[in-house]
């Protein structure tokens, strides 16, 4: 059965204009322009129901309004597949594609997009949309469109896809399936491959954590500003900012420029451990006293005027990442040279 496809583009690829038209209000048309015209001929048994065009800035500044518009078009055109982008490495466009896909996904529509791996929009739609891996610049349009067309074609036909063969970003969803070989046979083959130094693929990859290049060491500690941070929920007595005791939704910073130690004035709101010891002396969790002494002895330049606190237990990974980005930005701007982060 022929599947219906609805497209989404920004003002640039929709032929409205460049940055000067970035606040273009969303519109709907049945006539296709730009990338969809390259996708459709290779997208298998599908027909187009039309195209939404929206300025990237308009989407960012009027997200609710734009999403309502998209939802209305979806309701009217009843697409089976929603195709946004490709956005390559364009941040605002990627973010808009992700937001548009979210609307479609919630309406039960299959979503396809295309992005570069560093596009910030990716993490907002990777788990539910089929996002083709593209290069970082639109110059590679000719390579990106066939990948998206292939995904659309296979998804429309209900065919199996895999991240490797079909070049999309794995959604991270592990589907339990029946395969041809018994588990025992697969295990023996895997061991044989290992014994023969041949390639093998584990069925249960260990959690892959992306790694960051270690930052360069501090060259002269005696001139360095060192900041303190903790996921141990340290706050001034009374918890003025109401930091949550678990699954923190926020981070806080507190001025310690006048303090030589935390004892007496700070305590922990962390719910994951026995707080008695920390509440006697909060330096047991965030060692201001010792670091201040190192400053007085000239071993370090100075202790940064603020410390940063959140609560670690159960804090979602996405939140932890956001906190890190926000805190890191502040520290960078403040010229901090190094950070001690304590965890409980």
């Amino acid at each position: 059965m022929t599947k219906k496809v609805l497209f989404y583009l920004n003002q640039f690829f929709g032929g409205i204009g460049g940055e000067d038209k970035a606040d273009y209000e969303p519109s709907f048309q049945t006539e296709l322009v730009g990338p969809p015209t390259g996708i459709m001929p290779k997208a298998g048994d599908v027909e187009s129901v039309g195209l939404i065009i929206c300025g990237d800035n308009f989407f960012g500044q009027n997200e609710d309004e734009t999403k309502a518009f998209i939802a209305k078009v979806i309701d009217e055109t009843q697409p089976d597949i929603f195709v946004a982008g490709p956005a390559f490495n364009a941040g605002r466009y990627g973010f808009a594609c992700a937001g548009a896909c979210k609307v479609a996904h919630e309406a039960g529509v299959t979503c396809v997009s295309g992005m570069y791996e560093e596009n910030p929009g990716l993490e907002h739609c990777q788990s539910f949309a089929w996002v083709a891996q593209t290069a970082n610049a639109a110059a590679q349009m000719r390579k990106a469109l066939p990948i998206m067309a292939n995904l659309i074609s296979k998804l429309a036909a209900g065919e199996e896809v895999t991240p490797e063969a079909d070049k999309y970003f794995a959604q991270g969803r592990r589907e339990c399936i029946l395969v041809d070989e018994l588990g025992s046979t697969r295990a023996v083959k895997m061991l044989l491959a290992r014994l023969n130094d041949e390639p093998f693929e584990t069925e249960l990859p260990m959690p892959s954590f992306d790694v960051v290049e270690p930052a360069a060491p501090i060259l002269d500690l005696s001139k360095a500003t060192i900041a303190l941070a903790t996921s141990g929920g340290i706050v001034p007595n009374g918890n003025p900012d109401r930091l949550q005791s678990a699954s923190a939704q926020q981070w806080n910073k507190y001025d310690i420029s006048e303090y030589d130690q935390l004892k007496g004035d700070f305590y922990t709101v962390h719910g994951g451990f026995d707080p008695v010891y920390c509440n006697e002396t909060a330096d047991r969790v965030l060692p201001l006293d010792a670091l201040r002494d190192m400053q007085k002895q000239g071993k370090i330049g100075k202790v940064y005027d603020f410390f940063y606190a959140t609560t670690g237990t159960g804090t979602a990974v996405a939140n932890a990442r956001k906190f890190g980005e926000e805190i890191g930005k502040e520290l960078k701007e403040a010229g901090v040279d190094g950070v001690l982060l304590t965890s409980t």
Binding site: F209, P217, F273, D293, I300, G338, V339
Partner: protein
Amino acid sequence: MVKEIERYGIPIVHMATITTISQSVGANRIVPTVAIPYPTGNPNLPLEDEYKLRYSLVERAVNALATEVDGPTQFEG
């Protein structure tokens, strides 16, 4: 949080008791600490000894910031 801060080019040392977690959050400089409720202390020690312990942990952490590493590295006492 560790990785994001380090991405700004600021060296960061993770002081934690469960160091496997430090490794899994992507910390490159790790100083193992005492215990979860008191990573940089030990209420069972006399105050003076406890402070010495804390100072040595902090000193180790600060020195770690000034040490070149090429991947996750634990700075043991």
